[in-house]
């Protein structure tokens, strides 16, 4: 069995949760931070043949430090292929080759829709956010979308203020109606409190596992929709020793992942 050291921080647990969703051989599109770490944990443990790419044009980078953006200079030396946006977003993503995409957002709703455009009314915004970038196409076209979010009533929503990136949109049948490709869509929401998955019939996120220091009740109280709970709900498996080893010794020796604690991932 696996050893589970208890000195981990929440972002490390979340990265491990992401890693476990990746299968060997998966083609993964990542941004920075969590996603890259998650995908690389998978690659260094159970999924050595997973390959990663960044939307800016990079496939199978070999960075010597964690990339701080999808265009980070460290992604260039040693990559297997470098092209441009149309190669990654068109030739690989739109053409249906991406198995896993990671997304995060300022707001995520129960159908896995994501808002990265605006808080408040679009025309009179309370807060203008960056916009879609690569999020909408990844959410539209990757086979499994893994969503990273902060677990509170501000960041989770029954309905997002603005659907930048499609989850299941209005619920069952919506993606099909709009002609989004079959077998795509949100797969899981990984928060700092829990892992939520999507009900096959209702397309609503439900509680699958709760992280070690929390409870089903706490999570329900932090979730702004009437959260369903899985019959087999249980505690999230903490980071395994070998996962933490990869994370701390190979991927992020300077533990830059700690910046996520400052952003509320505790």
């Amino acid at each position: 069995m696996h050893r589970h050291p208890d000195d981990y921080i929440k972002p490390e647990l979340m990265a491990c949760c992401g890693a476990r969703e990746i299968k060997d051989g998966d083609v993964v599109i990542v941004g920075t931070g969590f996603p890259t770490m998650a995908a690389n944990i998978a690659k260094y443990t159970h999924a050595p043949n997973a390959t990663l790419m960044q939307e800016s044009g990079v496939f199978d980078a070999r960075p010597r430090r964690p990339a701080l953006s999808v265009g980070d200079p460290c992604l260039n030396p040693g990559a297997a292929m470098i092209g441009g946006l149309v190669d990654i977003m068109g030739m690989f993503l739109q053409a249906g080759w991406i198995d896993v995409g990671f997304l995060s957002g300022s707001q995520v709703d129960k159908f896995g829709n994501i808002n990265t455009t605006v808080i408040g009314d679009y025309n009179k915004p309370k807060s203008r956010l960056p916009g879609s970038g690569g999020a909408n196409p990844i959410g539209s076209l990757a086979k499994k979308v893994l969503i990273i979010a902060l677990h509170n009533k501000k960041r989770l929503a029954e309905h997002v203020d603005f659907i930048t990136t499609p989850g299941y949109i209005d619920g069952p049948g919506s993606r099909e109606k709009w002609g989004l490709p079959d077998d795509t869509g949100p797969h899981v929401i990984i928060t700092n409190k829990a892992v939520m998955r999507f009900d096959k019939d209702t397309k609503e996120a439900y509680l699958a596992t709760y992280h070690p220091d929390t409870s089903v009740d706490e999570i329900i109280s932090l979730t702004p929709w009437e959260l369903k709970v899985a019959d087999d709900v249980h505690e999230t498996e903490p980071p395994r020793e070998e996962e933490l080893k990869v994370l701390r010794e190979v991927l992020d020796p300077q533990r830059m992942i700690r910046i996520y604690e400052a952003r509320g991932y505790v």
């Binding site: 800016s56 265009g71 260039n76 441009g84 679009y122 807060s127 203008r128 879609s132 002609g179 989004l180």
Partner: protein, 311 residues
């Protein structure tokens, strides 16, 4: 003919008020020298476009020279939201820009269409989201949703985009404008080739024979290029593969400055308006932060292997 000129000449001659301007770069090879010069020359009412905009677009918006933005995203990356962008949209300071929202798939594909003479292209994203509900200055031409004449399925079409001018920064170009890059491309190739003409800023002008030693690296041919400017460190605080790293500390400086309107204006005065040209900018950088910090930006080198095209 004479395409080799100063940035001042290039911007004065080839960027007009109200132009639709494509500006290449993706942190990688951002043509910052050109952007500063555009701001210095106080061009008016530009429409600017690129996928994944960053500090350069934020700065132009803060400087008040932008009327419209055809975009997908604007942020300062690790430094968070674009402060000038937020002030513009949320408070109309210095003016409220109009935004046409696309994505990092649809916008590059619109530029691809523009570069290849296709009037429009189908894309498979944006469907079902509020990105289809909002339309700004492009109005009904933002997109069309049709039933595919091949299989009847709902199909989203986005129009070709053909900028009046494209500005890119590359590793090297010859005097006629044949421009070569390596490393992350972003939407530089499609954006430059979609434009009616191109300004090429480069780390070094090389002779035509050097270009000819590795022609597969060329992304823009001479006949599209109106101006060539040798502008070493032209992408700072962005980076150029093989030449210099991102200047993260300068990014933090910009973040801090742009947090307030006053700070932003002071920054603009110090780093743009009181600066003559790129040489002056680098001089000011070295005087302000010291040569050792400047030197640290310089890339280590790890050369690959040359190839032969012979027969």
């Amino acid at each position: 003919m004479g395409k080799v000129m100063t940035m001042k000449q290039a911007i004065a001659s080839h960027v007009n008020d109200e132009d639709l301007v494509f500006i290449g770069g993706y942190i990688c090879r951002t043509p910052f020298a050109a952007i500063h010069e555009i701001i210095r020359q106080k061009k008016k009412d530009l429409t600017i476009t690129r996928s994944n905009a960053a500090d350069d677009f934020d700065m132009m918006i803060g400087a008040g020279i932008v009327k419209r933005f055809i975009g997908t995203f604007l942020s300062l990356g690790v430094y968070g939201l674009g402060r000038c962008y937020r002030r513009s949209i949320e408070k109309g300071i210095p003016r409220k820009i109009e935004v046409e929202e696309y994505t990092n798939l649809s916008l590059p594909m619109m530029l691809l269409a523009g570069s290849m003479g296709m009037p429009f292209v189908p894309v498979r994203d944006m469907l079902g989201t509020d990105l289809l509900k909002i339309k700004a200055f492009m109005g009904e031409k933002k997109y069309k949703l049709i039933d595919s004449p091949f299989d009847g399925k709902p199909t989203l079409l986005v129009p070709a985009l053909n900028p009046d001018i494209a500005i890119i920064h590359v590793q090297q170009a010859d005097e006629d404008g044949n421009a070569q890059i390596w490393g992350i491309g972003g939407d530089c190739k499609v954006g430059a080739n979609a434009a009616r003409k191109v300004i090429v800023s480069c780390e070094r002008i090389v002779d035509r024979d050097t270009i000819g030693k590795d022609p597969s690296r060329t992304i823009v041919p001479s006949f599209k290029v109106a101006a060539v400017i040798e502008e070493p460190y032209g992408a700072h605080p962005g980076y150029t593969p093989g030449f210099y790293d991102v200047d993260f500390a300068f990014g933090a400086l910009y973040q801090k400055a742009s947090n307030t309107l006053e700070g932003f204006n002071d920054f603009l005065k110090e780093w743009v308006f009181d600066i003559e040209d790129r040489t002056d900018y680098i001089q000011h950088y070295i005087q302000t932060f010291g040569y050792s910090r400047f030197k640290e930006l310089q890339a280590r080198f790890d050369y690959g292997y040359p190839v032969s095209y012979e027969y």
